[in-house]
Symmetry: C3
Subunit: 353 residues, 3 copies
C-alpha cells in the first residue's frame, strides 16, 4: 500500500464497481460483490487486493498469487488459480492504471504541494491586473504577474513564476519552482517542478567581434492534457510559435528548441534534444536521449530508438535507430556486421602477427 | 506581427532611418522616405513590412514577396521584384537582427517578468548589507543576500536567488528561479530561468568506505555580454576560478565543470557537457551535446560537430567531429568506409550462406 | 588563498595539529611546531603554506616549490627539496582534502546562502503543522509544507520548496530553488540548487487516443551523506521506492527514473541517465553521460566509461564501455580494429579507383 503520509486513498470498491470504471468485465463465475481495498503487484498482493497480468513472463506469479482478484487479458483466463476473481480486459495495463486511479485519485495530478488545497495564500505575489479564477490554488511564494489568467481548478505551486501575459488553463498544475513566460497553457496540463517555458530561443547572427541577437518574437503554445517532466526546457518561437500538441507526454531534462512543432499524443523520453524548427507528427515516440537536427520532419507514428541522432526526415510509421539514424533493420544489420568484422580482423591480425 | 500581449512594439521607421541603424545602405532607386512598420518573413510579409534574403534557397520567395522592402546581399539585387525597396548589406542576417531589434527593442533583454518595471518590490528579500544600485529592478519573491551588489539597470527576476557576496553588473538580467553564488557577473549579461551558477564542483578523493569531499575554493567569473540558457549549470572552481569569456553564448541544459575557462565569443549549443579544467579559446563553436573530457585544450576558432566526444586537444582553427572526435574530413571518410564495409560484408555473407 | 568574500577561513595550525587531523604523520626531521596558514598548489604555494604531491607528473614542481610544507606519499619523500617539512600519508589526496577542510571548514557544506546563519527568517512560508527542529535554518522565501519535519542543523535555502509530508534529516542542506516531495532525506545530505526530487515517474499505459497515466505511488529515499548536483532530477517510485544509498555522490543534470535503487558510495558523473527500475550495487562508478536501460542490474564496484550506453547486466567488479557497452578490453579492441579497417578500406579503394 502506498505511504498514506503522501497519498490519499479511497475505497474499498466492489469488484463490479471497479469493472465498470476500468473498461473491464467481470468474468463469469467471479463474484462481483466482493470488496477490493487496494491495488498490488501479483507477488505481494494479499486478500482483498487486486493485481494485474499482462506479460506472459508473470504467469507463474499469477498462478501463485494470493490476490483476491486480478485484471487479465482473455488469453490468460485459464491459467487462473482456484478461487480468484477475474476482471477481463482488452488492455489489462490500461485497466490497471484506471484501477490505481480509483484508489489514489489525487495521485495523478498533484493537487498541491503546501497542504492547504484550494486557497490563494496571502503569501503569494499576484499582480493586481492578473485574473485568478474561482477555485484556483496559488501557493505560498508563487508569483502570478501582470495580465496573467489562471483557470479554475489550476494550481500554481510554491515558488513557481507565471510571467506577464501568460495564461494557464483549467485544472492545470504548474510545479514548484517552474517558470513560464510568453505562453498559453491549455487545460489539464501538468508541468512538473523546475520546467522552463518561454525563454528566448538560441538565435544569433554570428559574427566578429560580436554575435548579434535575433529577437525571439514567438510564443509557446501547450495544448490540453500535456505533461512535461522536471527541469525540461522549451524555448519560445523566433517568429512562429513553439507548439506542444494535445496529450503529448514529455519526460525530464528534455530540451525543445524554438519553433519546434510537436503533434498529438507523442512520447518523448528523458534527456532528448529537439533542435529548432523540427516538425513532429502525431503519436511519435522518441526513446531516451534522442537528438534531432534543426528543420527536421518526422512523420506520424514514427518510433526512434533511445540514443539515436536523427539527421534525415523520417516518413510516417517507420522505426529508426542509430547515429546517424536509419531504419531499425538496417541499423541492426550494420551493427552486427561491424562487430563481426572487427572480430574477424582481430583473429586475422593475431594469426599473422 | 509578434503578439502584443508579450512584446512591445516600436516604429514605424522610414527606410532611410532603418538603413542607418542596421549597417545597410539604401539601394539606388529605392525611396528612403517610405514608412516601414514591421519585420516579417519573405513569404508572409505584406505592404509596409521589411523582409530579408540571405540564402539562395529563398530567391523564389524573394521574387514573389509582397513586402515593401527587403534587406539583401549585393548579389541578389538583380533578382528583386519590381517596385520593392532594397537595403543592401554585407551581412543581411545580422542587419535583419538589428532591424528586428528596432521594432522590438525590449525583446532581446527581458526587462522584467512581473510587469512592474524598474521598481524594487516590497515583496522581495533583500539583506540589509546588500547594495542595490539606483535603477535596478528586484521582482517579487527575489532574494538578494548579504554583501551582494546589484548594478544599475539590472533585473533580478521573481524567485531568483543571489547568494551572499555575489555581484551582478549593470543592465544584467537574472531570470526567474535562477540561483547564483560565489560569483561575479559582468555587465549586460543575460542569465535565463533556472540557471545554477557557483555551486560546488564535483570533487572527491575517492576511497573506502567514504569519498572525501575536496573543498571547492574558487569562484565563477561571468564576463560582459554573456548569455546563459535555461537550466544550465556552471560549477565554481576548485581553487582557480571557472571563467566564461565576454560575449560567449551558452544554450540550455549545458553542464560546465569546475575550473573550465572559456574564451570570448564562443557558441555552446544545448546539452553540451564540459568536464573540469577544460580550456577553450576564443570563438570556439560547440554543436549540440558535445562532450569534452577533463583538462582538454581547445584552440581559438575550433568548431566541433554536434554529438561529438572530444578526448584530445584540438589546435586552433580546426573542425572536428565524431566519437572519439577527429578532424572532420577523417571522421566523415571513416564513417562512409565503415558503412560500405558493413554493406559489402552483408552481401558476401549472403552469397556464401 | 580563497576569496574571503565567499569563504570563511580558519587557522593557522601547527604542522603537528594538521598531521593529527588529516591522517598523516610528521616525517622525521620535520618541525611539527611550524605554523601553516593555508593550502595551495605546489607551483603557487608560498612560505607558511602546505601543498600536496600525489602524481609523479608533478615531482618537478615539488622539487621547485616554495611551500613550507607538503603532504606526500612515502615514495616521494626522497625527492623533497631542502628545508621543506613533510607530512607523510598513505592517501595524499585524501589528506589534502582533510587539510583544506581544516582551513575552510564551512566550504564543504553550504551553511547558508542569505547570510543570516542559524535563524528562521520571518520571510519564510512554514505550514503550522510542519516541525522545524531547534537549530535548523529556514531562509527567506523557503517553503516548508504541511506535516514536514526539518532536522536540527539543516538548512532550507531561499526559494527551496519542501512539499507536504517530506522529512529532511539533521545537518542536511537543501539548495536554493530545489524542490522535494514524497521523500525522506537522511542526515548530512547535500542537495544542490535546482534539484527535483519526488515528482511523478514517467509511467503511462500507452494507447489511442490517449495515454493513461499510471499512478506513481512510491517515494524517494535519500540515505545519509549523499550529495546531489545542481538541476538533477530523481523521480519517485511507481510502487516500490526510488532509493539513493548512503554516501553516494551524484553530479549535475543527472536523470534518475522511478524505482531505481542505487547502493552505497556510488559515483555518478554529470548528465548520466538511469532508466526506471535499474539496480546498482555499492561503489559503482558511472562516467559522464552514461545511459542505462530499464530494469538493468549493475554489480558492486562496476566502473563504466563516460558516454557508454548500457543495455546488458554487468557482473560485479567489471569495467565496461562503449555503445552498446561491453567489457573495456573488448570495446577498445573493437574500436581500434574498426579504425584500422576503415583506413585499409580507404587505401584499397584509392589504389583501385
Amino acid at each position: 500500500m502506498a505511504d498514506l503520509r503522501f497519498f490519499e486513498k479511497e475505497g474499498p470498491f466492489s469488484l463490479g464497481e471497479l469493472a465498470s470504471r476500468i473498461e473491464a468485465n467481470v468474468h463469469e463465475g467471479s463474484d462481483e460483490t466482493i470488496s477490493i481495498t487496494d491495488v498490488a503487484p501479483l507477488d505481494s498482493a494479499g486478500p482483498d487486493e487486486i493485481a494485474f497480468l499482462d506479460n506472459p513472463k508473470y504467469v507463474a506469479a499469477f498462478e501463485a498469487t494470493k490476490a483476491s482478484a486480478c485484471i487479465v487479458g482473455r488469453k490468460f483466463v485459464d491459467k487462473a488459480p482456484a478461487g480468484i476473481a477475474l476482471l477481463v480486459s482488452d488492455q489489462p495495463y490500461r485497466s490497471y492504471a484506471l484501477a490505481a486511479q480509483c484508489f489514489y485519485p489525487t495521485s495523478c495530478r498533484p493537487s498541491d504541494t503546501f497542504g492547504d488545497a484550494s486557497t490563494v495564500s496571502p503569501a503569494t505575489h499576484i499582480h493586481p491586473s492578473a485574473k485568478v479564477n474561482e477555485g484556483a490554488t496559488i501557493e505560498p511564494g508563487a508569483v502570478v504577474s501582470a495580465a496573467c489568467e489562471v483557470g479554475s481548478g489550476a494550481v500554481i505551486a510554491s515558488c513557481a513564476v507565471v510571467a506577464k501575459g501568460t495564461t494557464v488553463g483549467r485544472d492545470s498544475y504548474i510545479g514548484p519552482g517552474a517558470s513560464i513566460s510568453h505562453a498559453h497553457i491549455g487545460d489539464r496540463v501538468t508541468i512538473h517542478a523546475g520546467v522552463r517555458i518561454g525563454q528566448d530561443g538560441f538565435g544569433f547572427a554570428m559574427g566578429l567581434p560580436t554575435h548579434e541577437k535575433i529577437p525571439q518574437l514567438g510564443r509557446v503554445i501547450v495544448q490540453d492534457d500535456v505533461e512535461i517532466g522536471a527541469n525540461t526546457t522549451i524555448d519560445r518561437g523566433a517568429g512562429p510559435d513553439t507548439i506542444i500538441g494535445a496529450g503529448t507526454k514529455i519526460d525530464n531534462l528534455v530540451q525543445i528548441g524554438h519553433n519546434v512543432v510537436i503533434g498529438q499524443g507523442c512520447i518523448i523520453v528523458a534527456q532528448c534534444g529537439l533542435s529548432g524548427s523540427g516538425e513532429f507528427g502525431d503519436y511519435v515516440a522518441l526513446g531516451a536521449r534522442v537528438g534531432t537536427i534543426g528543420h527536421i520532419k518526422i512523420g506520424d507514428g514514427v518510433q526512434i530508438a533511445a540514443r539515436s541522432s536523427v539527421i534525415h526526415d523520417i516518413p510516417e510509421g517507420q522505426r529508426w535507430g542509430g547515429t546517424p539514424a536509419k531504419p531499425v533493420r538496417e541499423w541492426q544489420r550494420e551493427l552486427i556486421a561491424l562487430q563481426r568484422m572487427a572480430k574477424d580482423y582481430g583473429k586475422k591480425k593475431g594469426s599473422t602477427a
